[in-house]
């Protein structure tokens, strides 16, 4: 596609820059936003909002332009390949939707906008860099890059104790996890002498496969891998490394919650697939058993905890924990098909979660509902279209046919069935049934339980309220909901295109 590429072939710096071009665009725009923030009076300008949108769009264009390339950069520590293309698109959409839904919401808190948008862009760049890292040190650095921005964003509502508390918890526990990650990398390095995962792969599979690895190498490697897994499991919020999730999701601004639930989870899963597919080796240690147990614990815990949850944000947090359990099933299923299924699930998860959070924000903006699910009673008749969309997203999360959630579950489950994990699927299906209960509980509340509050009914019809709706449901929020709806439906009824896309990306994993 890009003919100039040939010219650069011999130029390391240029090639390296090309390999991180989509991230670079985001970072550049983040700096521009930050810089412009110095000059203007902040609360009443939209510059940073539009600039960050343009940045994301440019980055998407770059990804599409480079989509056929396979570029190694920075002495092989960063790679741009098919896997990146798919995951970048998912992450960039997560970022795009987050920015779109931020517009009115952040202005409400009267906070500096430029910093907010630039931090969002930095987080997105961090996620993308993480996915394209193939070097253990690089992975650590990009996780930190991503996380530090996310910590700040979590505590962005200054003066709000919940927000600050959430950020602090996230930070402390996140540091813990990072420590495990780097500690694991040390062990892996000690065992193999390599930091690049492809070199490690070669070391494991070709170097000593005939003679077998010595016992001490195996011990070192296994401990290293377990610790590394723990570091990533924290970001993927797998049980029992999930503890930060509900509190941070609850305390953070809802837009940031959305970014954490969609973008960070996608990035963590993607890098997990990248590492797992190349260096987790069953001849060293059977990691499938550990993943099996983690998956079952994660989804069961998430669903049980969500069951009686009354705070919508906490409920979505627990639901996202449970969803992580389902995503793991695809990885356990393994192979080309399993990873494809997981990537597909990740993409569909981005849109259905973003849609649900966008609607939480709509209600938050309107001040008609708190985070308490009880306040959703009878909303279905006052805001029919919004409630219908909410129901659609919740049905998607529950995995009802016609939605992307069903197709995602179908693919990950069939991947595991293919690898004969029948019991895992049995438990997962029980979990899905359990999960449907709390998703549908919200729908029931919206449509079948009346609020009994006469004032609100009157409010719903008065013209003053109509202007309030017009002022608070901004076009950008509506666009967010429409994009999410379209993709949730499209992935549900026309999955083959996306599966094909995901399958091509997965193929690049083995092009070493």
């Amino acid at each position: 596609m890009l003919n100039t590429l040939q010219i650069y072939n011999n130029y390391l710096v240029e090639r390296s820059l090309l390999s991180v071009m989509p991230e670079l665009v985001i970072v550049i725009f983040a700096f521009i936003v930050l810089f412009l923030g110095l000059f203007r009076k902040l609360p009443d300008n939209d510059n940073s909002y539009y600039l960050s949108l343009i940045g994301i769009v440019f980055s998407i264009l770059y990804v599409l332009m480079l989509s056929n390339q396979n570029i190694n950069g920075f002495f092989g520590s960063v790679v741009f390949d098919g896997m990146d293309v798919f995951v970048f698109i998912a992450i960039l959409f997560a970022g795009l939707l987050t920015i779109l839904m931020s517009k009115k919401y952040i202005e409400m808190f009267n906070l500096p906008l430029a910093e907010y948008y630039s931090l969002i862009l930095f987080t997105v760049a961090g996620m993308m860099l993480l996915v394209s890292s193939v070097n253990l040190i690089m992975i650590f650095l990009s996780i930190e890059f991503m996380s530090i921005s996310a910590y700040i964003l979590t505590g962005y509502i200054k003066g709000n104790t919940r927000s600050t508390e959430a950020a602090l918890k996230y930070f402390i526990l996140g540091s813990f996890a990072s420590a495990f990650l780097i500690f694991g990398s040390v062990f892996i390095y000690a065992a193999t002498g390599h930091l690049n995962i492809y070199n490690i792969h070669n070391f494991l599979y070709t170097g000593s496969s005939n003679s077998g690895l010595s016992a001490s190498i195996r011990d070192y490697l296994s401990i290293g891998l377990i610790l590394f897994l723990i570091g990533l499991a924290f970001k993927m919020s797998l049980f029992p490394f999930h503890a930060w999730t509900p509190d941070s999701y609850d305390g953070a601004p809802t837009t940031v919650t959305n970014l954490m639930a969609t973008g960070i989870k996608v990035a963590a899963f993607a890098i997990f697939i990248r590492v797992f597919s190349s260096i987790f080796d069953s001849s060293v240690f059977n990691f499938y058993n550990i993943l099996w147990i983690l998956s079952v614990l994660t989804m069961t815990f998430g669903n049980l905890a969500a069951l009686l949850q009354t705070n919508i944000k906490r409920l979505l947090a627990y639901s996202s924990i449970a969803q992580a359990g389902y995503m793991l099933i695809g990885i356990i299923g393994g192979g080309h098909y399993g990873y494809t299924a997981t990537l597909f699930y990740l993409l569909s998860y981005v849109f259905m979660t973003a849609g649900a959070f966008a609607i939480v924000i709509v209600f938050e903006n309107l001040n008609i509902a708190s985070f308490d699910i009880k306040s959703y009673s009878g909303i279905g008749y006052k805001y029919p279209l919004i409630s219908a969309s909410m129901s659609f997203f919740l049905l998607a999360l529950a995995g009802i046919p016609v939605t992307s959630g069903f197709m995602g579950k179908f693919y990950v489950f069939s991947a595991a069935i293919k690898s004969n994990y029948d019991w895992l699927i049995f438990i997962a299906l029980l979990n899905s049934a359990l999960a449907a209960f709390y998703y549908i509980k919200i729908i029931v509340r919206m449509y079948m339980i009346s609020n009994g509050d006469a004032d609100q009914v009157e409010l719903g019809e008065s013209s003053a309220n109509m202007t309030a709706i017009a002022a608070n449901i901004t076009p950008s929020l509506i666009i967010t909901i429409i994009i999410s709806l379209i993709f949730t439906l499209l992935l549900g009824i026309y999955p083959q295109m996306f599966i094909h896309f995901a399958s091509q990306s997965v193929t690049s994993l083995w092009k070493i």
Binding site: F176, I226, F285, I290, L304, A305, Y337, Y411, S414
Partner: protein, 627 residues
């Protein structure tokens, strides 16, 4: 995607677009909703005619819209199978739908759910078109359920009425029984052949063991029994008359209920390789035809009589496809769709004029007040009774002649008796509604319906009068037979002809049966030659049996509903409350109180979180070292 494919996909596209438009913006469209809903169907009809001409002049083809689910060995496309059978069904479905939609503009005028009604109807037409077009069993199953769902929401359209929502529930639950079998059948097909594509599945039928083919065929037929209201699952259709009358006309007479017949015809390869299953189809059809006609004799509700008549006529169609006369079955399906759609529309017109009254005993002498309705009704009734040259004569006699010539004498006798009863009950309606003495409540102002309603009726009546001529010369040399026969050539001939009696001999007998039925009705209700009360007393057991619908509802109540209810109450009181609720609430409450307790300890929280994390780390490492 070439022009042909585009043509195919635009047929379901417009009803879908209409359904979405009316569903989302219905509120703002007001009275235009009716026009938009009708126009979308008319466009779809025009495209269907174009497709019909294309296929009739060339050959069938497969149009793939996109690959749907490719999961390792499981591959399904969103694709269609276009042959002469499907285009004929398409033209019928969209044609009748278009007329019923136009009629509905008048019938549903002023209803507060006007836009909602047209949205549902468009959704139904879309689903029905896709059901006809599907080229694999999964797509078929999806739209099989979709039409069932549309039927459910349309029966319960006036959901404030308890009888309507009850009827909707009954239809849905009874259909569930059949669809469960149908679903199992689809799964069994996939398990035994490894594919769901029609062509591949049919290709493999000859090589499958006989018992498997029989089981598959019977499971598929279970779905057909539910959807097409055959004995013993016919009980939902009469109750479904609670819906608006155009719905009864379109869904419960012309299109959805015939899906079962279409299914058997479409899967003729499967059924023909299992003579046993085919015979089950034929005899259930024959018995249902007889039973429903018998019940219809004594009912008083016009719509219910016509509903039983539908069940009975569907029985004829199953009889035909069960003895391997697929073309004859489809022929009757088409002509029945026309005249039964017409009968329902005219019944709706009567109901409209009588302010919702449907009881035969409260009518009479309406002929002078609503001539168009009366004449069109009589045309429909003559077609139903099989009087030449109306359409029913050609199609019904094609079936009856085949049963005789193929040696199914019992079915033939049942069919002839049913023909007699059919003519009797339909003319009983005519004589009691349009002629005889007036029992109309004087406060009701009887009037002819508006043009938007009568014109579709007139069109359908003209069609009912002439559509039979596609069946000339009668039986196996007719235009229709020669047109459609090609699609059924790859089926196994399990019931060859044993007699070769000429058509005029056989059809004169059934015309006689029909004429006799009409004459008997005339004697009863116009001449009043007999004292009906006396006859009722003499044949009391028989009368009671017919009047109480052979007590089938009561039998189900005793055998299934009551025990099930008791069992459910037991489940609810004991199992649900103590076991399930206990477990669920206990667990969830345990978690909730746990997390609540943790939340209270503000300072210790991060520590406890770190503790869980550490426990996790230790557990994972321990797992490695213990191994």
């Amino acid at each position: 995607m070439d022009t042909k494919d585009l043509l195919v996909w635009s047929i379901p596209f417009f009803p879908m677009l209409g359904a979405i438009l009316l569903g989302v913006f219905g509120k703002y469209l007001k009275n235009y909703a009716g026009y938009i809903g009708s126009i979308s169907i008319v466009i779809s009809f025009l495209f269907s005619v174009a497709l019909f001409i294309t296929v009739a002049s060339t050959h069938g083809f497969t149009a793939i819209l996109y690959p749907w689910i490719y999961a390792s060995t499981f591959k399904t496309n969103i694709s269609t199978y276009i042959d002469r059978l499907s285009v004929i069904m398409l033209v019928m479905v969209t044609g009748v739908s278009a007329l019923v939609h136009i009629y509905s503009i008048g019938y549903m005028k002023g209803d507060k759910g006007f836009a909602r009604y047209f949205s549902y109807m468009n959704l139904f037409v879309f689903s029905m078109i896709m059901l006809v077009l599907a080229n694999n069993f999964l797509l078929l199953y999806v739209f099989w359920e979709a039409v069932g769902f549309c039927s459910y929401i349309l029966i319960g359209f006036w959901y404030e009425k308890k009888s309507a929502s009850d009827a909707a529930k009954k239809a849905f639950i009874v259909n569930r029984v059949g669809d469960f079998g149908f679903g199992l059948g689809v799964m069994l097909i996939f398990v035994s052949t490894g594919t769901l594509n029609y062509t591949s599945v049919f290709g493999m039928m000859p090589s499958l063991p006989g018992y498997l083919v029989t089981i598959i065929a019977l499971l598929l037929f279970a779905g057909a029994v539910g959807k097409s209201a055959q004995f013993p699952l016919h009980i939902w259709l009469p109750d479904a008359m609670e819906g608006p009358t155009p719905v009864s006309s379109l869904i419960h007479a012309a299109t959805m209920v015939t899906a079962g017949v279409y299914l058997v015809a479409r899967c003729h390869v499967i059924f023909s390789y299992s003579p046993f299953a085919s015979h089950v189809v034929a005899y259930i059809g024959g018995f249902t035809a007889f039973l429903a006609a018998f019940i219809a004799l004594t009912q008083y509700d016009i719509k219910r009589i016509i509903a039983y008549s539908t069940i009975s006529q569907l029985g004829y169609m199953f009889m035909a496809v069960g003895i391997g006369s697929y073309a004859a079955g489809i022929f009757h399906l088409i002509s029945h769709a026309v005249f039964k759609g017409l009968l329902f529309l005219t019944a709706g017109s009567v109901m409209h004029a009588m302010s919702g009254e449907l009881d035969l005993r409260k009518m009479g002498k309406l002929y002078s007040k609503m001539k168009i309705t009366a004449v069109t009704f009589i045309v429909g009734a003559l077609a139903l009774s099989g009087i030449p040259p109306f359409s029913g004569f050609f199609s019904k006699d094609a079936i009856l002649a085949d049963t005789f010539n193929k040696g199914y004498y019992i079915l033939w006798i049942m069919g002839e008796v049913t023909a007699f009863m059919t003519a009797f009950y339909i003319f009983r309606i005519i004589f009691r509604v349009f002629f005889g003495e007036s029992h109309v409540d004087p406060s009701v102002h009887v009037h002819e319906s508006s043009k938007v309603m009568t014109i579709p009726m007139i069109i359908l009546a003209s069609l009912a009068a002439v559509v039979g001529f596609i069946g000339i010369p009668p039986f196996d040399h007719s235009l229709f037979y020669l047109f459609l026969h090609r699609d059924f050539q790859n089926s196994f001939v399990f019931s060859p002809f044993v007699n070769y009696y000429p058509w005029f001999l056989l059809s004169s007998i059934s015309v006689l049966a029909g004429a006799l039925g009409i004459y008997t009705a005339y004697l009863f209700y116009i001449k009043q030659a007999f004292d009906t009360e006396k006859i009722k007393r003499i044949f009391k057991p028989v009368y009671e049996l017919s009047f109480n619908k052979v007590y089938i509802d009561e039998i189900y109540d005793q055998l299934i509903v009551t025990p099930l209810k008791n069992f459910s109450v037991y489940l609810w009181r004991v199992v649900d409350t103590f076991v399930i609720d206990g477990a669920v609430n206990g667990l969830a409450q345990g978690f909730a109180s746990f997390s609540g307790r943790v939340r209270r300890v503000q300072n210790g929280m991060v520590m406890s979180y770190a503790l869980t994390l550490m426990i996790g780390v230790i557990a994972l490492l321990a797992y490695y070292f213990i191994k």
